[in-house]
Amino acid sequence: MRLDLVVHVCGVIVRVFGAVFLAPLAVSLVFHEYRDATGFGVAGVVSALLGHLMRHAGGDAAQDAIESLRRVEGFAVVSLSWLLIAHLAGIPYVWAGLGPIDALFESMSGLTTTGATVLRDFAQFGRGIFFWRALTHWLGGMGVIALFVAVLPRLAIGGRELFFAEASGPSGEKVSPQIRRTASLLWRLYAGLTAMQTCALWLAGFSFYDAVCHSMATLAAGGFSPHPLSVAGYQNPAAEWIIIVFMFIAGASFTLQYRALARGNARILGADDELKAYAGVIVVATVLLAVALAGWHWSESVVRTALFHVLSIITTTGFASVDFQLWNDQAKMILLALMFIGGCAGSAGGGPKVVRHVLLARYTLQELRRALHPRAVLPVKLGGRVVPESVLQGVIVFFLFYLLTYAVGVIAIVALGADMVTGLSAMAAALGNVGPGFNQVGPMGHYGDMHPVSRVVLTAAMWIGRLEVLPVLVLLRPEIWRASRWGNDSRSPGGR
């Protein structure tokens, strides 16, 4: 791996990220919160300076080599720049009074669209901070790096590996052969949907500020709410229905939605195996949850509550319209299971993704058939196309690493003093980027009372979960850190 190139590209990304702080700065100024505004200003300046230094540390050679970014370097750039950005995005929280571990937790939780919070007292923080929490969600939902690939001409070609390293799901899908145009089109769709939801929520009675914050948190499948009681604090059924619709959209593939929209053909949606499975799981889980909550005595509010929470958990958003900590164990078990499903590939949702479950299920079935017909040719298909063996192996490896990370995390958290339900649910919620868990970390609770090391573990889990395990874990291989010499390969035209 060419370390200086990685440093250079991270620098490019971090420097641009400095400009992002202008938005919360403006909001803070509008609400006359000058202390927070200073925090955003400082964070912006630090980002720009650090980015500038890193760019130069990479040296001139890196300037030309950016187009030859290799796969593993793409992984490293994405993992490391996410980590750096999370630190920088935590600066305003430190300024507002949080400790460094809490600040990093909160900012990682925001960027990875987890929505787990360590804030005990919401009244202590200004509106600028809450806007910043929602904005980090929004940037992380479609992908910070996808955004920069879309806007930075320098990343137009090298951005390919970055885009796929950051995008979710087992195989890269594009809406245009050009990666830059793909990123730009998807971001426009995402922004358009956010604007639509903002208007809808505003019309449903939210203040404009609340509407913006909730929309950004919904479409990113994040889950931060400016209200300490989350969506439950508004008691607004119309708004809950609106959020239900947009959570569903946020958990479905944006690539697919763009295609259906661009061709004006809704049948594209109906033909998609993953979307069908996603909708099927939602329906089944909603029925089960409604039964677990109210038997067969269904009313509008039961259906709405069940659907809201099924979507909130499966899309890994993490909103709560009631305190589900008070539910029975049957209902909670359904939610815990949903945390391990996640949204669709190419969506804002986290978790292992529906398509990986579909592939795994089909692979298992084919292996069962193989027992009956040892000589049969049994490819796994998705949408009528054969899925390559390498992708299937990737899926299996993903699940192995995902569960391994989960197990290690749970053991660590429980060893550090949390009760078992808290440990199991907190790790699932962090790794899957869901947000709230059960017991101590329930939807009305917070992560602030957990052991400091547990909080660090959970922060790492969010990072690993958002980048889908492999790009982060690959950094643990020592040979990656052996800086390779600038060889012929970096200059030659086909040297990727």
Partner: protein
Amino acid sequence: MRIVIVGGGQVGSALARTLSADHEVFVIDHQPAIADVFATMDVEFITGSGTSEDVLAQADTATADVFVAATGLDEVNIVACAIANRMGNPETICLVSRADFLDASGNMAGLDQFGIDRVLWPEAQLAADIERIVTAPGAIDAEVFEGGIVRLLEYRLAAGSKLLACPLRELHLPRGSLIVAVKRAGRIFVPRGETQLAIGDKVIVMGTREAMVDVEAFVHPGSAGGRQQVTIIGGGDVGVQLAERLDASPLVDVRIVERDPARGAMLAARLTNTLVLNGDGTDLEFLESEDVGRSDVLVSVIDNDERNLLASLLARQLGVPKVITRVGRPSNLRLFERVGIDVALSARGAAVTSILHQITGGTASLLAVLEEGEARVLEITVAPTFAPRDLKDMGTAEDAIVAVILRGGHAVVPRGDDRIEPGDRIIVFSTRAAADRVYAFFSGTGA
């Protein structure tokens, strides 16, 4: 008629042989060695490229009535047709071997801009023929006419068949169906009321769609309900076509055996419900391990007669009740049926029938050729000069029978007191020898 055939391969030679008796036939092929095949035929052989205007001019393409492009290369066929169309105005028939030139419903896609009047895909035609036979339980041949309202089924009678019980008159076949022919000891004849069927006879039944459902239940009871197990040996062009046709059917479970792993992977990618097995259809151990003997139908469509025969005979040994086999060399057709294969078919034969059908058009058209060309099904529009009369007054022939009268979109299977009038369209079954006589009779040029 003046007919130009480009390509002297299997289809070309078979066509030339059949057509040379009544028509002026030119055959063009660039391989001089092929000329030997045509030396014994009454045709003109021209050595040269079918896409060369000079060569086509030698064959008088400008004045030809029909132009058939039957080389092995689709693109050559298309170009040859385009040139022929520019030189004169023949009816152009283009053979293809890929799906690219046909749309989903089997019609040509965009080839009319090259002046092509008809596209023919022999392998697909064969697959369609096999599909009809596979989906008719017990039958060894099956055809549909008039968009499906008339069907023909052929059975070979085995011991215990209900048809053997008594003479035809007392059998009481479903109304709307008719036994049009019996083949016994190599001779085809139209049965009469007192005919008693025997084991080993082949019988051909025609009738309306509704009646034929009852016929199937009568002749082959126990076939209703339950999915048919179909095993296809060989995943070549015909095998894929057939598997694709059967793939979506709820009535059959299909398995296809292919020897080449890469080809097998391609098949598995294209087919959804079909089980693709990687193995050799002539390997007895493999066939036993996959329980091929329990299939209801086995179709062997390998591109090699010897291996096809072996696979089919193995399947027969394992107890498959119905075996359908593709035959490449026409001289092998009879042999295959003699050694116990129920149905032997060739892609070449299907294409030739189709082209003959096209060429012999006019007021009579050839709907089907059965029993290696020994019998035909004709559709005839009765001439205005034809004196209307009852069927029973026409006398009975041993070699032809009016099977169906088509009136106002309906099919009527006639009885003795039904009347045939000028302007009727009728479907007639006849032996080859009687076909011309039948045509002359109804079109008013004969007695």
